[in-house]
């Protein structure tokens, strides 16, 4: 008896293999979906609380809700209601114990003025009891940059007023210093004239000493001619005259040295005066520039006087501008 014919099978047990592949794929997809759902918190029980804000600018669904910087939920839903926008916050139930009644929510940014927007929960006092599902809490809008700057400006204005007062005192001191410098400069300007007069005096003293020396020599010669014997007898007188001449010469030398020192002093003082003037000018420019820079410019605005100018011209009895 011949064996029954069996057609050749190219892929034996193909159906079982396909079924196994599909099963593994379905299991993988289910596992992935489960992981995603877990990450999304679908398996965590959440309690819904509400806030009403007159302005929902910057708030969006899915925005994290944070408590002490820790994410405890997210914005679930938003809808328009009379008086503003009703924002539903989904809070993980396990954290609800930390959010008692009287808690407040506010719009904030994680890194100050810029950064991701979040809803921050500011817990109330625990003695008020826990919040329940669907309960509403108060919502505070955070301040904008302009409000922060304005507040800072308001707070800083008195400080700038004090600074202005201090600077005006410095300015007044500067005026005194400039008066002193002006006086010093006037005195310094007179120094060359003094120096010139001193040199003239030295020249005169030189000439006088020379004349005196010449006259003394002539007198000595005549004395020699008149009485050589007496001259011989009085050598002490000649010695004294020579000493006197030496003294006069010394005095003249001293005067020359004094004049040179005065000139040197003048030369060394002048750069200092120039530097002082330059410093004063620089300081004045710095003050002027600082006064023009915001926010100092506001503080330095002179308060206008409420009175009309008192003009002595009116005493002439001239017709006033309003008379017809």
């Amino acid at each position: 008896m011949t064996e029954a014919f069996r057609p050749p099978v190219r892929f034996p047990r193909l159906l079982a293999k396909v079924n196994a592949f599909l099963l593994v794929a379905a299991l993988l997809m289910a596992g992935f979906a489960g992981i995603v759902a877990h990450k999304q918190g679908w398996f965590v029980h959440q309690t819904m609380i509400r806030v009403i804000t007159p302005d929902a600018l910057g708030i969006s669904t899915g925005m994290p809700v944070k408590l002490f910087g820790f994410t405890v939920g997210s914005v679930r839903e938003m809808q328009l209601v009379p008086g503003g926008v009703d924002v539903q916050l989904g809070i993980m139930t396990e954290h609800m114990a930390r959010i008692p009644k009287g808690s407040r929510a506010r719009f904030a940014r994680e890194s100050g003025v810029i950064g991701a927007s979040v809803i921050e929960i500011i817990p109330g006092r625990p003695i008020l009891g826990e919040l329940v599902e669907g309960e509403q809490i108060e919502f505070d809008r955070s301040r904008g940059i302009s409000e922060i700057v304005e507040d800072f400006r308001r707070q800083a204005a008195p400080a700038f007023a004090e600074l202005k007062s201090a600077l005006s005192q410095v300015n007044r001191s500067g005026e005194d210093l400039s008066v002193i410098l002006a006086a010093l400069r006037a005195e310094t300007e007179q120094l060359p004239a003094t120096h010139k007069a001193m040199r003239q005096f030295i020249r005169n003293a030189d000439r006088a000493a020379t004349d005196f020396s010449r006259q003394a020599g002539a007198a000595l010669e005549s004395a020699q001619r008149a009485s050589e014997s007496i001259e011989r007898a009085t050598p002490l007188l000649a010695g004294k005259l020579a000493t006197t001449l030496d003294s006069v010469d010394g005095a003249v030398g001293q005067l020359r040295q004094t004049a040179a020192e005065a000139q040197e002093t003048l030369r060394s003082v002048r750069p200092m005066i120039d530097r002082s003037e330059s410093t004063m000018r620089d300081a004045s420019e710095v003050f002027s520039a600082a006064k023009r820079v915001w926010p100092l410019s506001d503080a330095f605005k002179d308060a206008p006087d409420a009175t009309l100018p008192i003009d002595s011209f009116e005493a002439r009895g001239a017709p006033g501008p309003g008379r017809q």
């Binding site: 890194s111 100050g112 003025v113 810029i114 940059i145 922060i148 700057v149 800072f152 308001r154 707070q155 800083a156 204005a157 008195p158 400080a159 007023a161 004090e162 006087d305 409420a306 009175t307 009309l308 100018p309 008192i310 003009d311 002595s312 011209f313 009116e314 005493a315 002439r316 009895g317 001239a318 017709p319 006033g320 501008p321 309003g322 008379r323 017809q324």
Partner: protein
């Protein structure tokens, strides 16, 4: 974040100053300031009657809250505007609010302003005795002539001396006023002092020196763009030129004065008429 850090750094500075933040103006104060600002705008626009009404309103508001500085300031402003309107009696009455009330402690600065205004009013009315008395009072309050109104005070004294025929004294006071005005940067009073100096020189028989001073006054008044003062300078220059024998120049100055007067719609001054009569 940077802003917050800057604010945090500035906070100790603010705390160190320990000055409370300036309180906003109360409603009445704000209304008074508003009325005052509107009055100043009306003065600039030349509506003196409207300005007087606004100053009266501001005065009433200041009185309602016993704001002594505001009362005095508005009374002085009223006296100025009333004088411009030719209501000298009302101007005096306005000043009496400050001058005839010793019980209320008005600021010294306001009392000084009121006394000087009264001296100006009396001098304008040719009452030299009263003007001298009020000037002396103001001078006592302006210690060693170091106050802000010293140039105006010295100019009033110069005019008083000139009215009394004391030309040397008038020139001396005018020179002191010019120095004080220059050091304070008060150009209006500097021009007034130069005009007074010119008048004093002219009265002393020095027309050339008078013309120099008056030309300087005219240059400043051109810069200040006050037609009344330009007119006064030109009339004085015409007098000085006439006294120097330069009739053509005098006639030229007079024609310019007439043009200024007509353009400003001011009545021609009696002094100008007098000079014209002398020139003919």
């Amino acid at each position: 974040m940077t802003l917050l850090r800057s604010a945090a750094a500035a906070a100790p500075l603010c705390a160190a100053c320990s000055t409370p933040p300036s309180a906003p103006l109360p409603p009445v104060g704000a209304r008074g300031a508003d009325a005052n600002a509107r009055a100043a705008a009306l003065v600039r626009a030349g509506d003196y009657a409207g300005a007087a009404r606004r100053y009266e309103e501001a005065l009433a508001l200041a009185r309602s809250v016993e704001d002594l500085d505001g009362i005095a300031a508005n009374a002085i402003n009223l006296s100025v505007v009333y004088q411009w309107m030719g209501r000298e009696g009302s101007a005096r009455d306005a000043l009496k609010i400050v001058l005839d009330d010793p019980k209320r402690s008005f600021p010294e600065r306001r009392r000084l302003q009121a006394e000087l205004r009264r001296a100006i009013l009396e001098l304008a009315a040719r009452d030299r005795a009263a003007a001298a008395e009020w000037t002396a009072r103001a001078e006592r309050r302006c210690e060693r002539l170091a106050c802000e109104l010293a140039p105006a005070l010295l100019n009033v004294k110069s005019q008083l001396a000139l009215e009394g025929g004391e030309t040397a004294e008038a020139a001396r006071f005018a020179q002191a006023a010019a120095d004080a005005a220059r050091s304070r940067g008060d150009r209006a009073e500097q021009a007034n002092s130069l005009r007074n100096a010119g008048r004093a020189r002219l009265a002393a028989g020095e027309p050339a020196a008078a013309r120099t001073a008056l030309e300087q006054a005219l240059a400043i008044d051109h810069a200040l763009a006050d037609p009344r003062k330009i007119h006064a300078d030109l009339v004085e220059l015409a007098r000085a030129s006439a006294a120097a024998g330069d009739r053509d120049a005098a006639r030229g100055y007079l024609e310019r004065a007439q043009t200024v007067s007509h353009a400003a719609r001011d009545p021609r001054g009696l002094e100008e008429m007098e000079v014209q009569l002398r020139l003919r």
